[in-house]
Amino acid sequence: MNPRRLFSRTKLYWGLALICLIGALASPHTSSGANIFLSYQNLTDVLRQVSVTGLVATGMTIVILLGGIDLSVGSVMGCSSVICAMLLTKSGWTPAAIMGAPAATISIALAVGFLAQFVFNGLERGRDVDAGRRREIVLGPWRGYRIPVLLGLAAGAAVAAYVVSQVPAKFGVFAVLLVTPCFALALGAINGALIVQGGLQPFIATLAMMVSALGIGRLTGGQDFAVIPVYTGTNATEAFEVLRSMVWGLIPMPSIFFLVTIVLFGAILRFTTFGRYVYAIGGNVEAAKLSGVKVKQVQFAAYVISGLLAGVAGVLFVAQYRQGKPDAGAGLELDAIAAVVIGGTSLMGGRGGLAGTFVGVLIFGLLSDILQLQNIDSNVQLLMKGLIIVGTVLVQEQNLGQLLARWRGVPLAPQPALPGSVEAARPPNAAKASTVREDIHEKT
């Protein structure tokens, strides 16, 4: 690959590097002369601050790659924060426990059941001598459904027993981490069902969920609690502080959640059949359908994942800011979409990926940090963020040769287009050429 094309492909990373450079050069210094921006604490702080948005943006990337959108994540995150705070601070069958326990039981039961079936399927496929050739796999009644159902029921029963045992006292850290995301997952599943089975537009279905989840959060909290405060050690278990601690004094816990999640889903998107299906469906739904891809299942899974990650984000929000509130995630969905778009994922679906989203999230976080360190007026900060979104997306959409050509004043030459880029579909000079030909035609 020639160096210019390489540079053009990696320009997002250069953008990130540029922002870091600006941050380092412009950074204020401590009295001992150390650079504040580059200090380890500051950089880990940024990584922590972007974790909530990052988790949500990870789920959002998968949904957007499919050509969908999930507007409900902010509300679902807020609702989850209420559930989490309530489970932590109140004992007995609170509304949070009433909704969370069945949600956890059912989701875990289904997850284990499907996982068992998936494993049996995989084993059967592996026996096939003709590996790589597609064929229908037919399992017997035992491996086909009896064992998966039994395993699912067993797992569900175990979870139910565990959760119910937590109810009389306040929930512990592990129980909260189990129940809250499962609850959010259930909301995501409703989104998915409405879109896949109900045939609703993703925009409409998730918009409805965005409004409803806010309502659910407020009803759950009750009119008396616009905010549920969490005082670890007083009204909640002290162990909950683990979720905001520095692990080995090196890296904040929320960042670990974020990094593990994004690496995990990055690998899933890149190396698994599910991941390839996501791109295939996002690129062309009809073609994917005709090729035998189970479109509905993949779409459903994407919204479930998005809900699940919003739930995890809700728990981390409670841990960091010691409160659960229904409107905790107001505007979060838009931050997440912005990060995804800055990362180069197309809102049309089928193009982009989690590496870009990771950079997009970091660009947003670093920018906030730099502006804050420079002590810039809050209103100006908003303006700058808007400009950055427009700027990065503009640069993303064009390849570097074109940008440079324009700056040098050289007329656009037909570029060897990047595979999958907009230019591949539309050669830059085609439109011009046809109009010229028409002119000639009229004159003659």
Binding site: I36, L219, Q223, D224, F317, Q323, Q372, N375
Partner: protein, 324 residues
Amino acid sequence: MKRREFLKLSGTIAGAAMTVYLPAGWTPAKAAAKWKVGFSQATTLEPWRVQFNKDIEAEAKKHPEVQLIITDGQDKTEKQVADVENLIVQQVNALLISPKESAGLTGVVEKAIDAKIPVIVLDRNVDTKRITQFIGGDNVLIGKAAGEYAVKLLGGPGNAHGNVVEIWGGMGTAPAHDRHDGFHAFTDKEPGIKYLLNNQSGDWKQDKAYNIMTTALRNNEKIDLVYGHNDPMAYGAYLAAKDAGRDKDIKFILGIDALPDEGVTWVHKGYLTATFLYATPGAEGLRQAVKLLNGEKIPPVITLPTMLVDKNNADDILKQNGLL
């Protein structure tokens, strides 16, 4: 599953959910009330508004002759306008309103006055002289009280010294500007006081203030006093300092609002140095409405006083509210 079956099923589930949840949000009307008083609340998402509603409901319980109808504008001007129109149609005897914003609600308030309904405006005013009464706190006054107290903490008038972090409420909201102006009326006279931040807005939110403070702590080695435009932001700043291991270095943290389960609790626990009461006009509003309905004359403006809440009186306030 066919699409129609699915829709039917989801309809059933939604219906079931409604029947479970609706009773929670529905209050039956009092039958034997003499007066119907409507109260249009702007939103119930903020704790201060929740306290506001609690206060007015508690006061309504003391007046069995009054049936109180509360509506929630859900932080949207259009919704609140519709709420007030609905109350006009219900022919309430008096209308209490706490508008989300001044300009958008003025028209519908005039419509109520045209319908011969006396209007008492609470907390934020509307742009008309025809209302019967306005009740509200004075944010400039509260800001001044906080400023005067801050100067005293930092060494007294004339020789106050210290680095101050001020965390703004929502930019472009009147209370934030008033709380800023009032505070600066005192602190700007002190050459020893230095402001470290330039208009940094936490948007009234604990989490945003936390992040602002985290950076401020990184950027400044010495911070003496934090002034948050409300208690959650002051508390957020405290949490940031605590997580950075520097809560002991910061001598004073001041907030505003003094809600029993927020600011007062935090003062009691020693997280905040002091907070200043921004009383809700809920109880006073209903008392005035009852007076008016009974034919008494009421003054056109009532300004609610503020109060310093520090470790000396926090415990008493918590006891009065049954929180201790």
